[in-house]
Amino acid sequence: MEFELDSGNTAWMIMASSLVLLMTPGLAFFYGGMVRGKSVLNMMMMSFSAIGVAGLIWVLYGYSMTFGTDIGGIIGNPADYFGLAIPDSESLMAAVGVPATVAAGFQATFAIITVALISGAIADRAKFGTWLVFAAIWVTIVYIPMAHMVWGGGLLGADGITSALSVPIDFAGGTVVHINAGAAGLALALLLGRRKGFGREPIRPHNLPFVMLGAALLWFGWFGFNAGSEFAADGTAGRAWINTLVATGVAMLAWLATEKFRDGHATSLGAASGVVAGLVAITPAAAAVDTYGSIAIGAVAGVLCALAVGLKYRFGYDDSLDVVGVHLVGGLVGTVLIGFFATDNAEQFGVWYPEGALNGLFYGGGFTQLLTQIIVAVVAVVFSFVVTYLIGLALKVTMGWRVSEDVEVGGIDSAVHGETAYESIQQGSVIKEIRA
């Protein structure tokens, strides 16, 4: 088929790609503000480095291994488009007139942010070198297969394991990104163990405005993430945009209400957390539900995630920045609630409706879609958790994951990165050596 460029859709997808890329530095601030001042740089470095590592892998074999010719429903053929040699006619978004380079760039940003999300589970204590190696392996054998299975025509797609039931709906990455990162975070949190003083000493955020800044950049970038997943500039992208606004706002209010009711204070950390919880939950459903559905998903996600972040204390795993409580739980909420709220009323609400999918339970579609969603979610959780645990274990016995307790107490920034985030009276007196 001849490729015909649509400059409007292409303009939107280039911007959407830029927006999604901005999410990773945004995450660096969301996470970095939440840790103590002595480890903020390390936290941010885990996100920034993910752009380099995952980005490089993506352009070499990642894209091809995700969207190349299917191999056993698990991965695509790495050779097909190695080095991003893709004729526009074979562009993933050729149907809407978006060139191959743009399509490949958009997809790259998803791989990047997903890896970065995991780092929140291992704050303050992970060896930077081990993290870099983990990131490379994880993208290759967890993210890419998952993305292929869901979006590349694999086992979790239209003709996958649920084909007898219905077509699973994951508009922008509830399974591929959030359930995936959340389950991986849980695996690493268990493997690395708790920080000194976890659950006893206060480990408070060192800079809450940075957390707010991170949440703001994430929200802004997420419009590209969700509305961009339509691959075109149309009414459906607009619906995804609207839902990304409303579900998120409602989740923020819901989280604040939960806090006010339970703790007596509506906190800014709660607002920022609610924002992210809402964004996570609406992701898979972004264009599959109407205004009411998005309000409901936001409300449920806000309340459940606000409660879920406490689980780590109850079960004693140190998921430091709540990757599980926010991304795993939020991703499950969104993925499953699609089974209740999916609707095909495109005429009135501009929603998107994948060929062969069914309406949700509350929209007259019965239980089939719900069941489909649950199956996909469960498979995703299991796959991600198991494989990640094995990768983490292998690295634990080889490179090792934890820095020494002294380093953890003294601050990972100065020990590992040879820097401190902020100027202070404790400063070098004279330059000892200049390496030039």
Binding site: P202, D263, H265, G310, D322
Partner: protein
């Protein structure tokens, strides 16, 4: 010479400064401190984990004075810092062996 040290409520600093000036004291050294005592701290909650913050912000004021002025200065500081509410702080006096003005090397009262 004596050193009069006061640990007071931050928002009283200006009044203390003015009061000292009025009393003819032309210098002091100020630093940040945190206090722990009868005054209650506040509560903070981060994602459901609640802490009591029992250290409250205070300001330390140090004034070097000639022996004979010490009682007056103590008085001035106490009066100016007083709000009558728990947490007003403490003022104490220490005897010094010597004081030197760095700029000139002058010793004793001349250094003040």
């Amino acid at each position: 010479m004596k050193l009069v040290t006061g640990v007071i409520q931050p928002h009283r600093l200006d009044d203390v400064k003015s009061a000292l000036e009025a009393a003819g004291i032309r210098g002091m050294t100020v630093s940040e401190a945190s206090g722990y005592g009868r005054q209650k701290g506040h509560t903070e909650v981060y994602r459901g984990a609640e802490y009591t913050v029992d250290l409250v912000p205070k300001v330390r004021v140090e004034v070097l004075v000639a022996d004979e002025d010490a009682p007056t200065v103590v008085d001035v500081v106490v009066k100016a810092a007083q709000t009558g509410r728990i947490g007003d702080g403490k003022v104490w006096t220490t005897s010094l062996d010597d004081v030197v003005r760095v700029r000139t090397g002058e010793h004793g009262d001349a250094a003040l």
